[in-house]
């Protein structure tokens, strides 16, 4: 396996694929490399079309339905089954179709998967990956689009990743499957079909390592998942306004790469954290708290946060479009930050 530490995904690219294809390839390659890797979830096998959007398509045809198994609609049982199998040597990749459905499996994730290593004094551990998709954009309304990553980041024992491009989607999945602890792997539904160059087979993106998606000098924008791409797009508008934005893709939300973020903000003196989750008590709060502490006196302006409003996701198109940060609002927020006095 190749491991490119802080390298941008480009280093690993060979041909264009979608994020969906990259996730599929990563699981397939991991299953090929290790027959302890197994997959379970609703509709994941090929008789059920390899998942509602086809992320696991072809896997059961190739590896057998004993290793790629469609389940009843029973998220507690899905995660419990993944946990149990992981305790005896398997590496399950479990799908909880949408992130809002993690709410029916929280006990298994938080009280069990995250804690068994600790509570057993290190005798057991739970190397599972929980894949889940979410995100606004498809008019699904209040119960299908939430970004809840802050809950899991607040849970000791869990790791949380959220790729923004195909190469990282591949490399983070390989790292997540290799990892000895439970990893929540967040996929953005509307971004599944976003293209990008593919990772080389075997490419691993180590957990906990961010990458600098765009270099800049005046303001650091920290993001992840789909919104990262909005931030990259915003950088052009920011440049047009006369400022240079450095855009950091966290990739891993917990543990997050403090070193890379601190180094960047030490350089720029300004930081905007943006994500699709609601701002209040979100991931941006932790990052802002740490930066404010570590870079006290260094920050030129307070860390700004741009998330969703403190409200459920609305259905109506114009409301939904105004809900999550987009390139325009990110650019505005970053430019405002740059224009403020030191």
């Amino acid at each position: 396996m190749t491991t490119d530490l802080a390298d941008p995904p480009a280093a690993a690219k060979v041909k264009p694929v979608t994020i969906l294809q990259a996730i599929n390839a990563a699981i397939a390659d991991a299953m090929e490399a290790d027959d302890k890797v197994v997959v379970l979830g609703e509709d994941v096998a090929d008789p059920e079309e390899g998942g509602v959007v086809g992320v696991t398509k072809g896997l059961s045809n190739r590896f057998g339905e004993h290793r790629v198994r469609s389940t009843p609609i029973a998220e507690q049982a899905i995660i419990g089954t993944a946990i149990g199998a992981s305790l005896v040597g398997y590496k399950p990749v479990a799908e909880i179709m949408l992130m809002n459905f993690t709410t029916v499996a929280m006990d298994m994730i938080v009280n069990h998967a995250a804690k068994l290593r600790f509570m057993s004094g290190g005798q057991t551990h739970v190397p599972i990956v929980i894949r889940t998709m979410t995100g606004t954009g498809f008019s699904s309304g209040g119960q299908h689009c939430d970004y809840l990553e802050a809950w899991f980041a607040h849970t000791a024992g869990m790791k949380v990743v959220a790729p923004s491009n195909p190469a990282d989607a591949y490399g983070l999945m390989r790292a997540a499957i290799d990892d000895p602890d439970p990893v929540l792997y967040i996929e953005n539904l509307p971004a599944y079909w976003s293209g990008g160059e593919a990772a080389q087979p075997g490419h691993v993106v180590p957990l906990g390592k961010a990458w600098i998606a765009r270099e800049g000098t005046d303001v650091t924008i920290v993001s992840y998942s789909r919104v990262l791409n909005e931030a990259v797009a915003a950088a052009d508008a920011i440049e047009a306004a006369g400022f240079s934005a450095e855009v950091i893709d966290l990739r891993t939300i917990s543990p997050w790469d403090r070193e890379t973020v601190l180094a960047s903000v030490r350089k720029t003196g300004r930081c905007l954290v943006t994500h699709e989750a609601v701002t209040q008590f979100g991931v941006g709060a932790e990052i802002a708290a740490v930066l404010s502490e570590e870079l006290f006196g260094v920050l030129k302006r307070p860390v700004a946060r741009l998330g969703a409003p403190y409200a459920p996701v609305p259905f109506s198109k114009p409301l939904e479009a105004a809900y999550a940060p987009d390139a325009k609002r990110i650019a505005e927020a970053a430019i405002t930050l740059c224009k403020q006095d030191n």
Partner: protein, 326 residues
């Protein structure tokens, strides 16, 4: 079964009127989505119309309904006005939820349509609470929770049926068994030959009926309503049916058994019901055609109304998150 609850001619006509409304509305919805005039996740209920048409006819307006993403048939049958519905699924201010809920979260308390949920299984615990409210106040209202066959495998089903049974709540658990949960067949997900038999786990009546047969369906609903109103507790009804289309609009349904589907469509309960009403002299072709034409006109009007209605202002984004403390 239970022929003492057989619907009389007028009731059958009323059930048919609702069936026809539901079918026409589904067909129109798919058409409007196909033309791009509407964008929404749409879960077609074509093939399942008889279940809610008969069940809701057995209820009063004041009775409660908690339904699911695949629930527009349930709501229309319970009395959701077409304009409020269409404006809502179009995301407009004149929608019943001001466009903020959308097709998976329609609410219309005036007709007892209290909650629509997008979470599998979650209609049931809430229906228990509505039933508890009726029991506490003694107002005799019944709460119906609808859900699918796939939902009968999730924890909320079990917790709700047991609690409703122990508390003898006036709740009807109405399982619309369309043989698929998303792309998964009934057999592959459900280790019970009949969901109705699961009632045995709670010592309550469980009945499997042909949900496509308005007489059988109505009788089962009436009996469950009578039990509930008499304080005898909940009933589990498993209504057998079939989903004519894929899980969600746009789903190519390659995973569905072709022959099974063809047979189901061939046995479409709506024209069957219609033909029988005429054959039995309950209605004439002309009467039914007139009723259907009226329905089409009402839908026309609702669609135009909806698409002419404005979108909500952006300040709605943060409105209705909280009320004001008493």
């Amino acid at each position: 079964m239970t022929s003492n609850y057989a619907p009389d001619a007028a009731t059958q006509l009323e059930i048919y009127r609702r069936v026809a409304l539901l079918k026409a509305n589904d067909e129109r919805s798919r058409k409007v989505i196909k033309t791009g005039r509407l964008v929404m996740p749409y879960y077609s209920y074509r093939g399942q119309e008889v279940i809610p048409a008969a069940t809701m006819t057995a209820l009063e307006d004041t009775d409660y309904l908690v339904t699911i993403y695949r629930g527009i048939h349930d709501m229309l049958a319970k009395g959701m006005p077409l304009k409020d519905l269409w404006a809502e699924v179009a995301g407009r201010v004149d929608g019943t939820c001001k466009g903020k809920g959308g097709p998976m979260h329609l609410t219309y308390p005036d007709k007892g349509i209290m909650v629509t949920t997008g979470i599998v299984g979650s209609s049931m615990p809430i229906a228990c609470g509505l039933g508890w409210g009726s029991q506490l106040s003694g107002d005799g209202r019944v709460a119906v929770a609808t859900f699918g066959d796939g939902a009968s495998n999730i924890g909320a089903f079990h917790e709700s049926l047991n609690l409703a049974a122990v508390w003898k709540l006036p709740v009807i658990f109405l399982c619309q068994n369309n043989l698929y949960g998303e792309h998964t067949t009934y057999e592959k997900a459900t280790s019970a030959p009949r969901i109705a038999d699961r009632a045995g786990s709670y010592a309550i009546p469980g009945v499997r009926v042909d949900g496509n047969d308005p007489i059988e369906m109505y009788a089962a609903a009436r009996e469950a309503v009578a039990r509930a109103r008499a304080g005898e507790g909940p009933t589990l009804i498993e209504a057998m049916t079939f989903r004519f289309h894929g899980h969600v609009f746009g789903d190519a349904d390659g995973y569905m058994d072709k022959a099974q589907k063809a047979a189901a469509v061939e046995a479409d309960p709506v024209p069957r019901f219609r033909a029988r009403l005429i054959a039995e002299g309950i209605a004439t072709e002309e009467e039914l055609a007139a009723a259907e034409a009226e329905i089409e006109a009402a839908i026309d009007e609702a669609v135009e109304f909806a698409l002419a209605s404005p979108f909500p202002e952006l300040d709605e984004l943060t409105r209705d998150v909280y009320g004001v403390a008493a």
